[in-house]
Symmetry: C2
Subunit: 195 residues, 2 copies
């Protein structure tokens, strides 16, 4: 059977470019014209390769979690709770201040939106909740290992750290520098774990 004409662009490279655009402008703010221009392909090629805008965004999200957002998974594997928090805060301070597109895709992708993007907003809410749950479970393990004070509440601690990370993302979107975010991380670590 014939294989047909091979595609003239790299799906991975194109997806990376799409990720940059979504990261900078959010899901709704990124137009198909923005995306195709950055990806260097035409609209029919995009639709053939990625389905539609929503599927493209989900694939960009997955790629974000494995690439620029990978420090989160790394942090969860650190041996102690303190090292988990140290790693995640410092790496976030670094990752959130990439000069080209500051902030976090999972936060600014669709914090609020019109009716058309409601399902994307829900998806991002679910992903943020999942990350917080993973952190909570990591802290529960730390409690079982006597790696955190006996009275501590893993859920509260996870919510606190998650809020801090999301706040750092907003700060980064507002132009905060690497050093400023690192200052927030240091201040948080100075009071970890709580008494």
């Amino acid at each position: 059977m014939a294989m047909g004409r091979p595609r003239e662009f790299s799906c991975e490279k194109a997806l990376d470019q799409a990720l940059q655009v979504f990261w900078r402008k959010g899901y709704e703010g990124a137009s198909m014209a923005d995306l195709t221009e950055a990806m260097g392909i035409t609209k029919p090629s995009l639709y053939a390769a990625f389905g539609n805008k929503e599927e493209l965004f989900r694939k960009a999200l997955d790629r974000y979690a494995d690439g620029p957002g990978g420090y989160y998974r790394e942090a969860l594997n650190k041996p102690t709770a303190r090292e988990v928090v140290t790693h995640v805060l410092y790496q976030a301070a670094e990752a959130l201040t990439h000069p080209d597109n500051p902030g976090c895709l999972a936060v600014q992708g669709a914090l609020s939106c019109g009716d058309a993007a409601e399902t994307i907003k829900q998806e991002l809410m679910a992903r943020r909740a999942k990350s917080e749950t993973e952190l909570r479970e990591r802290f529960e393990r730390a409690l079982a290992e006597n790696d955190l004070p006996a009275g501590a509440d893993a859920a509260d601690l996870a919510r606190y750290i998650t809020a801090l990370l999301q706040g750092m993302a907003v700060q980064a979107a507002g132009g905060a520098t690497h050093a400023q975010l690192r200052g927030i991380a240091e201040m948080t670590l100075r009071n970890w774990p709580p008494a």
Copy 2:
């Protein structure tokens, strides 16, 4: 001279309804159809009374700062730094979890956006920066009054609290409850001021 036909709606009530819509959907996500329907007026009436969408949003922002966001100014007037932080965190936990429209207009109004809304995004960044500056100046005063430890950095403290508040806003947008946000506030206060 003749005064002409009087308008049949209340500008204040209409602006309040517009604020609700912007709060829930953000600047770009709120369509003129959404706004006019909620405000109970037609599009020409809206344009005659408020200029255009951008001016309407700015007026809604001002009203937000004087109404639902008024707790921030209140907090800055508390006599001690600890009372400032206590008030702002607890009141934020309350204000951010209004059941109808959770979160903070200044955060989710336009964290990221398309090219058309770039000036609105800049405006929100400036307002958030201004709030942080006011908090920093309040902490500088506290330092001068020996109301904070001598070595503390007012700018770092203000950034830390601001990030926490913005993170709470993201948490609220994700469905966090009043009690959960209060937990974050309590955890923060337990470590205030830093050693």
